[in-house]
Symmetry: C2
DNA sequence: CTGAAAGCGCTAACAT
DNA sequence: ATGTTAGCGCTTTCAG
């Protein structure tokens, strides 16, 4: 049985005995059509199982395709996976399909993905910018009407909308929580590479909190890692310092996982306080329960999609930055005090 | 500044002073071309930043587009997020772009997404089947050469490739672990809806292990939930039974999160053993460390992509089922014994 | 080795 | 209210 060709507009037209254009008109509610032809067309469409080919349409119209391009560093990270899910959820109602690529935080991979998305004439482009990536090349596309929204981090070299968590304020609040509980030496466990925007901002929040408390910034208390295993090692190194920190601030969910694991491994020590940026599903179940500065990745994805769709609908206002608040969730791990 | 139109084949041709077809030939290594024209074309392509429009190509060729359709229940679940990342990683080398949609385990949403993907003429279709979905309608597409691969669960009504973890064997091994440590009343915490294939298979593994140990199957020991919060409640209910279980088997990462949370809440009781299907990043950091039947979502995504690509390359062998082994990771929580 | 013409499925522009 | 023609960007087909 040869697989019969997918029906086309012409097939439907032939079936009904009208022109292709008439079918097109009915399907796109473009121009008038008599109720009767309308009904016959729709019935034929249903009968044949006709589905318009969106790519042929896109080629002809010249306008954007019904797709949304999204670049994230790693879909396996629940933060970005949730962002992606929320974006898809938010655009599906508009009949848009999600194109997703992962950059692994590599600017060249990001660039290649964006290039692919542009070639595909995506309706909107959502990008979690890789460290070091320059986005000036997107200016013409943006000027040409392509909504570009940066997620989680601002883009570089391009005035475009950006939706991101309040990294600095959140870190500040988390570290202030530790300070309020008497800690004076607080380690910072950041992501890598060090120039990663989220790391820098969260580190800045950390430093600001220290400064406000009249404490010096000690570089020795800052360590970085990109995997949970490495973060555990980094936490271990910090705690092995001659004058070790009495508390740790983990700069993201991966660092938090590493830190929690390291503390658990070292005899489940409870003499080191911990606050994490990003909440973890098991935060409450940990011992001690993990205090976290929770982001809202679904809200970030939604806001980014909505911002982009508003642009698509003609919003020509200035590029804006949409902050998505964090929320400190005190559970105990931030209130520990060592014997010091 | 009006955004200049994206260059087309014709633009490149004009620039070089050859025909569009010649440019096409060079770019697709189709037919011969003199080294000289070749060089001039490539230089013009680079100069103009020409990128072929894959949709125009797809329309003309009639064949599949350079996209891969993937339907998952929830990209925010790290299991599926990791699967998606691995799929994208595996197909990017072939110049394929990932289209991803989330079904929320709703067969109608799944169907709509697949319909969209088919209309877009994806090169391959990867689907995590929703409970209750029927896939017979895909037969013609598969017969027409579209590789269809089911992920995590088998499809229904269609003989297609399937790549999935060894749910039954894994659950069997996990429950056997509990039995080996003397447990005779083991609760099962499953996903919802109850007809969910993964739940059924894992429950079957649980039952088989009980049977082998000469133990009866007690329905009262089975509870189900689809969110961590509900799973915590379900665990609570099981442990509140008149003759409560001394151990729990959590049927997936969400149930595991709920179970762990509930045990932590109940005074961090250590008298209930726990084994989880699916590993958790914090498993080692929990107290007690969580024993898990680890799946390998990245391997599942890779294998699915590779199977599909092999089909695309002409593999016409029978539909096969590719099992991806689980691995029991004993960490302690499965070896606990209560006072009983 | 290269080009001209036709056509993929669809719709804009102009008929009627 | 409907049909015709032309053409989107690309590739197939057939000539050179």
């Amino acid at each position: 049985m040869a697989a019969s060709r997918r029906p086309t507009l012409a097939d439907v037209a032939r079936e009904v005995g009208v022109s292709a254009k008439t079918v097109s008109r009915v399907l796109n509610a473009d121009g008038p059509s008599s109720p009767e032809t309308r009904a016959r067309v729709l019935s034929a469409v249903a009968r044949l199982g006709f589905q318009p080919n969106p790519m042929a349409r896109s080629v002809r119209v010249g306008g954007p395709d019904t797709t949304v391009g999204l670049v994230v560093p790693d879909p396996g990270n629940p933060f970005f996976g949730t962002v992606a899910g929320a974006v898809e959820e938010a655009v599906r109602g508009r009949g848009l399909t999600l194109l997703m690529g992962s950059s692994a935080d590599d600017p060249e991979r990001e660039r290649a993905l964006v290039g692919t998305f542009l070639a595909r004439r995506v309706s909107v482009l959502l990008v979690v910018p890789s460290p070091g990536a320059d986005h000036a090349y997107l200016a013409r596309h943006r000027a040409g009407g392509l909504p570009v929204v940066f997620l989680d981090r601002p883009g570089s070299g391009l005035a475009a909308d950006a939706v991101a968590g309040t990294h600095r304020a959140g870190a500040h609040e988390g570290v202030a929580h530790l300070l309020a509980h008497g800690h004076r030496r607080i380690g910072f466990l950041g992501d890598l590479p060090v120039r990663l925007h989220t790391r820098r901002e969260r580190l800045a929040g950390y430093r600001a909190a220290l400064t406000e408390a009249g404490l010096p910034y000690d570089r020795a208390l800052v360590a970085n890692a990109h995997t949970a295993a490495d973060a555990a090692g980094a936490a271990r190194a910090l705690l092995a310092l001659p004058d070790p920190p009495t508390a740790l601030f983990a700069g993201n969910n991966v660092a938090a996982t590493g830190a929690v694991t390291e503390l658990a491994r070292s005899g489940r020590r409870r003499d080191v306080a911990l606050v994490a940026f990003d909440d973890l599903p098991l935060a409450e179940a940990l011992d001690p329960p993990l205090t976290a500065v929770a982001q809202d990745p679904a809200a970030i994805g939604r806001a980014a999609a909505e911002t982009a769709l508003a642009r698509l609908d003609g919003d020509r206002s200035r590029a804006r930055s949409v902050p998505v608040s964090t929320r400190l969730v005190p559970r105990g791990s931030g209130e520990l005090r060592g014997p010091g």
